[in-house]
């Protein structure tokens, strides 16, 4: 292995350095957007007839809303650096606690959706690309377009009505059956991992069983992107110079397609996964609402409904950070897999 670890290290350092201004801009955007929003965060969320003006002022002072915006902005940045996303006005919880409590479910759902999309999208995309312009290819492309065109909430409702209500194959909603997961200690706060940790396979299966419909719904949102991506990549790869070169060396067609075509066509998919994270998190808002999945998206809607700006700001900040960090990680993973990326 003559891989030069030096260049990899340099690449990672560069990529991390690139993420920093992006995070900064992101935080600024979130701050500006939520401070431009109408209404005073404190009085809006407490709605407070019964609250005296003094009490409101006190709360405002406690939350720091009485200080100049620029000072608040500084505090906000300083807090985020310490992973302090504020305290919800409507539920009195630390937003970081909310994230800890609900984040696991969203991670589970998003991962499930991603896995579903990959499991479906990659084979379909590969076949479609391999047999370009065949009936299967046409079907695959139309399938991708239709799944892309059907909004998550329509698909979710349909899936729920058909597979849960009418056929009864899957549970209606939620992450587990009642009571079943009560004894699982929260080690990672991702229920399914916690259950594996304590070897409670009944809970693991129960979560998986509950996960299928929402994950498929969310996965369908992005499966089109994968089909498309894989198909296009494979077509381009199979037209590629090194594929022709391999053929010229008399490599068997099957090996050409699999070793030179598929493998190379799949590399960019990793990058696309990075791009899909934002989409998955956005889609999870609607999916979590439809399937009553106890994640951050559903929580965010509740915070929005109660105009809990502090909590919304905290959650949105966190989600944005996640997106930036994941896309950074994906780039780094990509560099590990594809030696060219490192330059």
């Amino acid at each position: 292995m003559s891989m030069k670890s030096g260049s990899l290290g340099r690449y990672i350092a560069m990529r991390v350095a690139l993420a920093i201004p992006m995070i900064f801009v992101l935080l600024t955007l979130v701050f500006v957007m939520l401070r431009v929003a109408p209404g005073d965060p404190i009085s809006a969320s407490s709605g407070g007839a019964k609250m005296s003006q003094e009490k409101i002022d006190e709360l405002r002072a406690a939350a720091g809303y009485d200080r100049p915006l620029i000072v608040q902005y500084g505090d906000y940045l300083a807090d985020v650096v310490r992973f302090d996303f504020g305290t919800s006005v409507s539920t009195n919880q630390q937003v970081s606690d909310v994230i800890l409590e609900k984040g696991g479910a969203t991670v589970t759902l998003a991962t499930g959706g991603l896995v579903f999309a990959l499991l479906l999208g990659i084979p379909v995309g590969l076949l479609a690309g391999r047999f370009r312009d065949s009936a299967f290819d046409v079907f695959a492309r139309l399938f991708g377009i239709i799944t892309y065109a059907a909004p998550v909430f329509v698909v979710g409702l349909l899936a729920q009505q058909l597979f849960a209500t009418k056929l009864g194959w899957f549970p209606l909603e939620g992450e587990t059956d009642p009571l079943i997961a009560n004894d699982i200690p929260a080690t990672t706060h991702i229920l399914i991992l916690d259950a594996i940790w304590v070897n409670d396979w009944e809970v693991v299966w129960n979560v998986l069983w509950h996960l299928i419909l929402p994950a498929a719904t969310l996965g369908l949102l992005i499966v089109g992107v994968f089909i498309r991506m894989v198909r296009v990549n494979l077509i381009q790869t199979l037209r590629g110079d090194y594929v022709e070169a391999a053929r010229a060396r008399g490599i068997r067609e099957r090996d050409v397609v699999v070793k030179h075509g598929f493998r190379n066509a799949l590399v960019p998919v990793i990058t696309v996964i990075g791009l899909q994270v934002a989409l998955l998190l956005g889609g999870s808002v609607l999916t979590e609402k439809t399937f009553n999945w106890p994640g951050l998206g559903k929580q965010l809607i509740e915070f929005l409904n109660s105009r809990d700006y502090v909590a919304v700001q905290g959650l949105v900040t966190f989600i944005a950070l996640v997106v930036v960090v994941i896309s950074m990680l994906i780039d780094i993973i990509n560099a590990l897999i594809d030696p060219r990326v490192r330059y």
Partner: protein, 384 residues
């Protein structure tokens, strides 16, 4: 919903697009030629998409004439519509829990969707193009900041962005439609920004801009033209896909309850959300029709966008494989042997002596194989 971020037609280098000098009509013809030439799946997608979209636009534009009743009508001739009536009779698509006529709601919903979509596309086009031009033209710190901000917006979960934006703009005059349009606008500005900025940058560096500048033409004008010709190439795809997304986002906002209220306008997402209880109560029509409308409208625009992308993006254009059948050789090759070498560079008309093996007048007789084996030992099976 999502942007399909993969391989939209990116503006190519200067050679990729029509030269700015070309007359507008020629450019248009060039732009549309591929559409007319499209074939296969691209053609199917394009024309199906155009048909669906056209249907949608016609319904939206002529909603007042098409819809049997107003979007908030609950009675006709003093007689109240029945509640949750199944389709048939006076109400082809049935009625809702609010005594609305579903058909009318769906038809008027098309108009709402179109209004929001057009506003959102126009806003984001305008702002995105303006910022892209500024950024690409002036460069420097303005460019760097704008790029960073746009990249950040682009990376953001778009639905979250739209929801937050919907809150930001909830007091904007013009009501729910403008609010929704603005919320969606925020999401799509970065896409136009990117395209226009890239075009502007490459235009700035293009040699003919240098030349034009040297000749005293205003670079701004040149860039404007150049960018325009690029924009006109890539924007249709982005715009149609964005239009699809706009409908989906609007419906998503409505579905979550952050959208337009029923007395303000008919909106599919809201209607669908309100129809969920009906769905469980065997009243399929209140959810089905708005649901189908949402999917169809999005599908129509997506198909147009995908079809356009296929057509305009040559690398993805379907190669129609035409198999060739090679006809038998009509006239076999004649081989003649000459005895003497011609002059090194023979002048015209000057010919070396020829030892003619075949009568040129009767080429048919000069069948293959008849050519005498040459001294050089050339193969015998000529012309076989």
């Amino acid at each position: 919903m999502a942007n399909l971020p993969t391989e939209l037609v990116a503006p190519t280098g200067p050679a990729g697009t029509a030269a700015p000098k070309r007359a507008g009509r020629g450019r248009l013809r060039r732009t549309f030629a591929p559409i007319l030439e499209a074939h296969g799946l691209a053609r199917f997608m394009l024309w199906t998409g155009i048909a669906i979209t056209g249907f949608f636009v016609v319904i939206a534009v002529f909603a007042p004439w098409i819809a049997p009743y107003g979007y908030d009508a609950y009675e006709s001739g003093g007689e109240r519509f029945p509640k949750q009536e199944s389709p048939g009779g006076d109400h082809l698509f049935g009625t809702t829990v609010q005594n609305f006529d579903v058909l009318s709601r769906v038809v008027w919903g098309a108009r709402t969707a179109l209004e929001v979509m057009v506003l959102a596309v126009v806003f984001s086009l305008f702002i995105g193009v303006l910022l892209g031009l500024l950024s690409g033209y002036f460069g420097g710190w303005l460019d760097r900041i704008l790029v960073l901000v746009m990249d950040t917006l682009f990376a953001f979960p778009y639905l979250l962005l739209a929801i937050v934006a919907a809150f930001m703009f909830s007091d904007v005059p013009g009501g729910g439609i403008v609010t929704a349009a603005l919320a969606i606008t925020v999401v799509y500005i970065p896409q136009y920004f990117r395209v226009v900025r890239a075009s502007t940058l490459s235009a700035r560096e293009a040699t003919y801009v240098e030349a034009a500048r040297a000749m005293g033409a205003k670079p701004r004008t040149i860039i404007g033209r150049y960018v325009f010709s690029n924009v006109i190439q890539s924007v249709p795809v982005i715009t149609t896909l964005n239009a699809a997304d706009a409908i989906a986002t609007l419906a998503g906002l409505g579905f979550l309850g952050f959208g337009i209220q029923p007395t303000e306008a008919a909106e599919w997402g809201y209607d669908l959300q309100r129809a969920i209880p009906d769905l469980g109560a065997d009243m399929w029509w209140t959810a089905t029709f708005p649901g189908v409308a949402i999917v169809l409208a999005i599908l129509g625009f997506t198909l147009v966008g995908e079809g356009l992308n296929d057509v305009l993006n040559p690398s993805m254009r379907k190669r129609r494989i035409r198999t060739v059948v090679i006809p038998p050789i009509a006239k076999p090759r004649q081989v003649v042997t000459v005895a003497a070498m011609p002059a090194a560079v023979p002048a015209q008309g000057e010919a070396p002596a020829v030892e003619q093996t075949e009568d040129p007048a009767t080429p048919g007789a000069s069948e293959t194989g008849d050519a005498p084996a040459s001294a050089t030992g050339e193969p015998q099976e000529e012309g076989k």
